[in-house]
């Protein structure tokens, strides 16, 4: 009996740990973006009905570079309008409110790439928060 309760408590602890990881509020990224093609962040669970997801850009490589980012589902569906930035700071990506409601508790990620007019690779760092 003691063994079973010990196993149950270990299992419960493990589940709590795993869910904490999955429900982390944001995920950091550190990419070297190629001149063509895109990268995507780890999946993060959307926790609120907010239609604004944010990208806190902390570093952009070569000066004059422009970066596009947008929110995606795990099956690669585009969930927000594309946002473009060329400076560090918080970048907002807007979803439809109905979609934001539908995605509470679901994993999403952020796709990121150099913009059409940026024809070279570029290092970027920051964190993605789906809210």
């Amino acid at each position: 009996m003691k063994k079973i309760s010990k196993m149950v408590s270990i299992l419960a602890f493990g589940v709590i740990l795993a869910s904490n990881a999955a429900y982390a509020a944001s995920t950091d990224y550190n990419f070297q973006l190629p001149s063509t093609g895109s990268k995507y962040t780890n999946d993060v669970y959307k926790q609120t009905v907010s239609k604004v997801t944010t990208n806190d850009a902390t570093y952009i490589g070569w000066e004059g570079s422009e970066i596009d980012c947008w929110t995606c589902s795990t099956d690669n569906k585009v969930l927000s309008a594309k946002s473009t930035y060329s400076d560090t700071g918080t970048v907002s990506m807007y979803m439809a409110q109905s979609l934001a409601n539908d995605y509470i508790g679901n994993p999403v990620n952020m796709k990121i790439k150099t913009s059409t007019s940026t024809m070279h690779a570029c290092n970027v760092r920051g964190s993605f928060d789906p809210s």
Partner: protein, 257 residues
Amino acid sequence: MSSYFKSELKRATISKNTLIALILTIALYFIGYYEFTGFIGFNVKEFKEIYDSIDIFIVIRKSYLSLLIPLIASMVFSDSYLLDLETGYLNFIYLRLSRKRYMLIKILVNAIISGLVIVVSSIIVFIILYLIFGINENSLFNEVTGTFSLIYKKNKSIYFLILIITSFIFNVIFATLSLGLSPYLKNRYLTVIASFAYYVISATIFVSLKLFQLNATLLFTLNYLSSGMLIIYQILLFLVGVILFYFGVLYKNEKNV
């Protein structure tokens, strides 16, 4: 001189290339629009709370158009000197005009028509966007950075006008650069892609050499450059085009006429 200027302007305005360039520019704006709004659940009513017509115009202008605009600028009339040369029309023109006047008219017409292509297509696209999204001075859009971004924060309508003017100047510069290279290249197709080649080289090789301020894409996207640097770079590139054309026509093809 004025009658030749008028006839050249008319010839350029009603040409097939001008029409194609106009349609292509509008199409690239709409591809950008489709890409921007092509997410699940897009609806105009909700979108209008965040972006107005000027904001959307700013975004879609930086899409595929920002990549292909030097090609469009050059395809309008930049190969016209070679066409005059190939058809023998140049011999006839030189009977009536001095070479310097011919060059001046060629540069002016090429610049005006190429510049007008982007202005007219931009205004057509903006009118459509305005009818759908209107103007909202309090929109949540906050992606405007770089040259003239302070003007956007104070008055976005003036910023829109600046975008139209800089687009006009951009096309003038790249059309003139292609025209200037045409006497050396002696090939109409190479002429059309010549300034585009410079555009790509400036955005790749110059950047990798850390010559960030010489990245010609910044002349269109208006990122990073100070207004002073922007104007200096615009003037320099335009002068390079004019000087190349001047010496190219005067000395390069002398034996052909």
